[in-house]
Amino acid sequence: MDERPVLELRGITKRFPGIVANDGVDFDLRKGEVHALLGENGAGKSTLMNVLYGLYRPDEGEILINGKPAELGSPKASIENGVGMVHQHFMLIPVMTVAENIVLATEPVHNGVLLDYSVAEKRVQEISTRFGLAVDPRAYVRDITVGQQQRVEILKALYRGADILVLDEPTAVLTPQEAQELFAIIKSLTDQGKSIIFISHKLNEVAEIADRITVLRRGKKIETLPAAGATEEGLARLMVGREVLLRVDKGVSTPADPLLQVEGLTVVDDRGITKVKDVSFEVRGGEIVGIAGVDGNGQTELIDAITGLRKVNEGRIQVGDEDVTDEGCRDCLDAGLGHIPEDRQHRGLVLDFSLAENIALHDYDHPPASRLGWLYPKRLTEKAAKLIDEFDVRGGGPQTAAAGLSGGNQQKVILAREIDRNPKVLIAAQPTRGLDVGAIEFVHRRLVEERDEGRAILLVSLELEEILSLSDRILVIFEGEIVGEYPPTVTEEELGVAMTGGGRKAAA
């Protein structure tokens, strides 16, 4: 490996009103290496990368590319200096082909005006073969998988001549298999001299893919260390600044009576496709039942049906002693359901509402929050203040808009609201998606506590690790059917096979 840094950030300081987002951060990237940038949400990773990409102008510090000071005032300047960025959320146009997306804004032209897409396709094909990024240049972006879309983004950066690639949380949207494929691509890129900055807060993959790791915390660089020899526990401690429990500490479950019963549930979506087929299971008080599955196998529809957000086509749902089949959402809540939705910003919170108003979302229409249609804002505030304190929500008070909080704290607000209603059944859909280590620890601990309180907890997650560490029983969903039930001692490989349909016959 060449030891000469292709990129050096020296003493980068970026201030926002009231906050120092980057405080004298040094960072360097050597040719052909993968350098991971690790930190909790809000540690300053994104700010640093936005400085590199020319979106922010640093207040202090300098940027050197190949040893020469570079003035990166705009993304355009960054691209010209060979910096390419693959954002967490792709910026592709679904109705255009892969090749069209890649050459966008730099389209090859012949005779001065006419676009020449055959040249474009050929060039895209060249790059994609060279780096092992298999993707059909003529396919429409809307038709290809998320993993392939990510490759298109990488190709786009390479097409524009990037030597330094910034990958922002690249595995957040990928299945485990797709993540492995991405790692192979990264290897092939670095072998051919590209240098990669890999942003993540997933410790295991950072340890796997990176050559060196830089940890940021509260805007400051804590340490840069070689990945070889770094332990997950050690990295977590650097990130959070204290000891973190990576494994969930939970005792044996003592299941009681079934509190959630689902029988023969079938759900057809808006387009007439059957998303949930004849699903039956029960969740007892005092146990956590995990539903494992690849994204899009009916998990969302299953939860929506149980919580009254979607019509049930066939089957029965019972909460406690109450039949809630096809009851509205409000009735399901009243029957004793608590629901931590998978998309906290679109569904779980009204981002423009204050925390007090958000916490009242299920309870605003009856005493003590209101009486005969008259709202008592003071009581909302009092309750919010109490819960904010109890659940250790940081970053704002009862009157702060929910949008102003970090993801972890937003999730704490939802958790507080749902648990405070004292539900019999708590449905947690992807409860830790996008959260950092500290917040994940908090959510997991709290879920186990609620289990021990005697609630029935249904956990739906795409993270196998989460399912394995929290669940007392695991159900695998594949194409809308429950294809197997496993004890928590099952291995990730076994679950992986079942999740992709391999276990259908062997279902217990």
Binding site: G42, L55, R330, H362, L375, G396
Partner: protein, 438 residues
Amino acid sequence: MSNGVSGADPSGLGPPPHLGTSEPPDGGEKPSFVTRYALAQKAGGIVVPLLTVFLAFLIGGVVVLITTGSNPISTYRAIFDGAGLNWFTEVGSYEIRLPFTDAHVWFPWNVNDIESTAAFNLQQTLINFVPLVLTGLAVGFAFRCGMFNIGGQGQYLGGAIMAVWIGSELPGLPSVVHVLFAVIAGALVGAFWAGIAGFLKATVGTHEVIATIMLNWIAIYTGVFLFSLGGPLQNDTQPFVPVSNDVVEGAKLPIFWGDPFLQALHVGFFVALAALVVYWITLNRTTLGYEVRAVGYNPEAARYGGISVARNYFLAMAISGAFAGLAGAIDTVGWAYRINTNDVMISSQIAFVGIAVALLGRNKAIGIGLSALLFAALVTGTSTRNLDPEIFKPELASNLTVMIQGLVVLFVGADVLILSLFGLRKRRRRQQSEAATE
């Protein structure tokens, strides 16, 4: 802008407020116009509306200078006087009669509109203020539920037609009952008219902008039909004039300032002020308002919270229409007293100014009150009757009003432009450079 990088907060303490609040939720479709507008509102506070007005007047002034060669400052001064706002500056020693008594006490302003032209002009401004507040509230209320009620004109007309019908029939009814009946029925017609659009949106998803525009035309041609020669509500004694019967004396709103035989200020003024309070209370102190705002900000979260989105679309539209219908009814029994087929087309267009009022007032009660006053002053100050023709031709000036109104709507719609023009938000610049690379 679906950008994960800028969406994450740059510190351990949560994002600085100006960064976090207006980033759209990640991973989703682009927020609707109404959502983005609501976010832009939050970012700008009071500063942007003021800058908006300032800029609109500045551009208006430049146009006055270039096209007519008149002095913009003296022109604006003449409009100011024409609107009667100089009344407040003419302080002296006068008397005012205490309400409900014959006692007179000292008062710093001259309330006698025969002695003081300013007092008369101000009355006219306040008469215009009433429908502008109410139609502004109509637009504002729908906006708070995430809808754009562009049908204030039809709802205003519905209210006006109902009020003139009830007001001109049923003579002999006790005055209080008659007035209340006419005004409330007018508001209900407005609610019904907008409620149709709300119902369509709630049930089959028809976009409210389309539905309300269509309903405007239905209302207009219904009005023309009713008051045309031979129409069902056409005048009984003047068969060759396309006008309604006059509202009977008992159905007219009481006048509290000015000469009833000229155009004078009626108690509808207090109804408008009360409506501002009702609007604020409904939105901020009732469960209905909570639901309406939740649906307006995020219908999906509202549904998850157990709120019926469809019901709120319908209710919010109906309430919105009630405000507009009230405006039409009050104008009719307050000072117009009759409707002719011309009024059907022309006068009802005041409801469109209501859109500008709501936009500039940022859908807040206090903002709508203030911007209604501004627009009322502009409309009155540039009217042929009020503007000093030696300084600026009123025919041109009323166009100036429309121009300023248009500029305000344009600028409020382009909050971003205003913000970046004045360099208030660095964030805006970042977004633009970001957009340039996509």
